[in-house]
Amino acid sequence: MHILALTSACISILGAFMVITRRVAVHAVLYLVVTLLALACVLALLGAPFAAALEVIIYAGAIMVLFVFVIMMLNLGKPDRDRETEWLRPRAWVGPAALASILGMELLFGLRTLSGTGITFQITPREVGLSLFGPYVLMVELASFLLLTGLVTAFHIGRHWPGEH
């Protein structure tokens, strides 16, 4: 079990690295999908199959498809790629990379202090639902308000007014 989880974790890190190094946007998005799938595997192995399934359905299955869709519509070519390489000077990425590596080291250091007991219980969909609509019901409502706002806005923007070209 540990080996499977570690392999998935390594794949997700590798995938994330590939995401930021790929030149072709669709390839990058595909590596992002791989990362998400690997994360879903980790979640499932850690005993949260519901979260894993939602990760695949929502992130890998819906949002990333929309990313691919948009990239397909944009039809990026060689000039865009050249422009992007021009933007990616070391001056631009050294700062964030240093900060991120500090964060990563901190995380690794923190992980050492955690006790290494294995997973003994599974989080079933029922428990997720009970906690969502129990203690966290306000958060759920707020999130749904936010989504509703997004929906109304999208509808307003995409509306075809009569007499308008």
Partner: protein
């Protein structure tokens, strides 16, 4: 136990692939039956070996990758399509005990996840082919499949609410008294339509739309890569039929006959219905398809959820 599971893991995809291949012949025979023709009946007894002949033919065809294509993604796309469909079968319970992971407590979500990933096959095939028709087919597929996934998931929620579980085994067990097709008839219809759209079968095969897009997303594919799309489509029909059987028609349950036979029987009838749809109905226009989805199926499935929830609440309260 582990050995048995491994054998199951090896055998299930082989059986599904065999079934899907055979289904290409069954479909052509049935289409013939419904069009006053005979269909392929020459190769082998009744034409059974036509599927094998087609398979051999397509294996020996030149496997051509267009020079303008994005080679890696081009090769990856049919593999994704095949893999997601085959993986979904892992959670379908043939009987109470015989399946790979029917007890998975998020089984239904797993199927939805695999269907969601299945979109990539079509979209990436369209993008990687680097040609107009394929791209248009891929975009249509993306919009169609993402939209219908929504209605499919919402339609399933009625079943999940009545069962109180995402596990397909529990869902079948909950139908021992009454099949869900009666109390969930609205959800059944929505799921059926969404299932057709999700497998991009006729009459909802707009991503392929021969008369306007060449062959849609697989215009540039040939040889066994095309064969994989083809087989994946037929395996998808088997999958959706098996899912409907499991979710709405009581799965393996039925009187007298043993469980696997009931399951096979129901699935076969549904597959026949899918083929009948192809024989009978013309393809709608793209905006009609989208309007059907967002203006009819979405409100219907939401209404279904509300009514189911209300009835369940009343039932438990009273």
């Amino acid at each position: 136990m582990t050995l048995l599971a491994l054998v199951g893991i090896v055998i299930t995809p082989l059986v599904i692939l065999g079934l899907a291949t055979l289904l290409t012949w069954v479909e052509r025979r049935l289409l013939g039956v419904w069009q006053n023709r005979c269909g392929p009946n020459r190769v082998g007894p009744g034409g059974v070996l036509q599927a094998a002949a087609d398979g051999i033919k397509i294996l020996f065809k030149e496997d051509w990758t267009p020079p303008f294509a994005d080679k890696g993604v081009f090769v990856l796309a049919p593999a994704i399509g095949m893999m997601t469909v085959l993986l979904s079968f892992a959670v379908i319970p043939l009987t109470f005990s015989s399946s790979i992971a029917a007890g998975l407590n998020v089984g239904l979500l797993f199927v939805l996840a695999m269907m969601g990933l299945g979109v990539y096959a079509v979209v990436l095939a369209g993008w990687a082919s680097n040609s107009k028709f394929a791209l248009l087919g891929g975009m249509r597929a993306a919009a169609q499949m993402i939209s219908y996934e929504v209605f499919m998931g919402l339609a399933l929620m009625g079943v999940v609410m009545m069962t109180g579980s995402f596990s397909l085994r529990d869902i079948v067990m909950a139908q021992s008294g009454l099949w869900f097709v009666l109390p969930q008839c609205v959800g059944f219809v929505v799921f059926l339509l969404a299932g057709i759209a999700e497998t991009h079968r006729l009459p909802f095969d707009l991503p392929e739309g021969e008369n306007e897009l060449g062959a849609g997303f697989h215009t540039e594919y040939s040889g066994m890569k095309f064969g994989m799309f083809f087989i994946a489509e037929y395996a998808g029909i088997v999958l959706v039929s098996a899912l409907i059987t499991t979710l709405y028609l009581g799965g393996w349950q039925g009187p007298i006959l043993p469980a696997p036979i009931w399951f096979t029987l129901k699935t076969t009838v549904l597959i026949g219905f899918f083929i009948l749809l192809r024989a009978a109905l013309p393809r709608p226009r793209y905006d009609q398809l989208m309007a059907l989805g967002w203006k009819i199926l979405l409100p219907l499935s939401l209404l279904n959820i509300v009514v189911t929830g209300a009835v369940l609440l009343l039932h438990t309260a009273g």
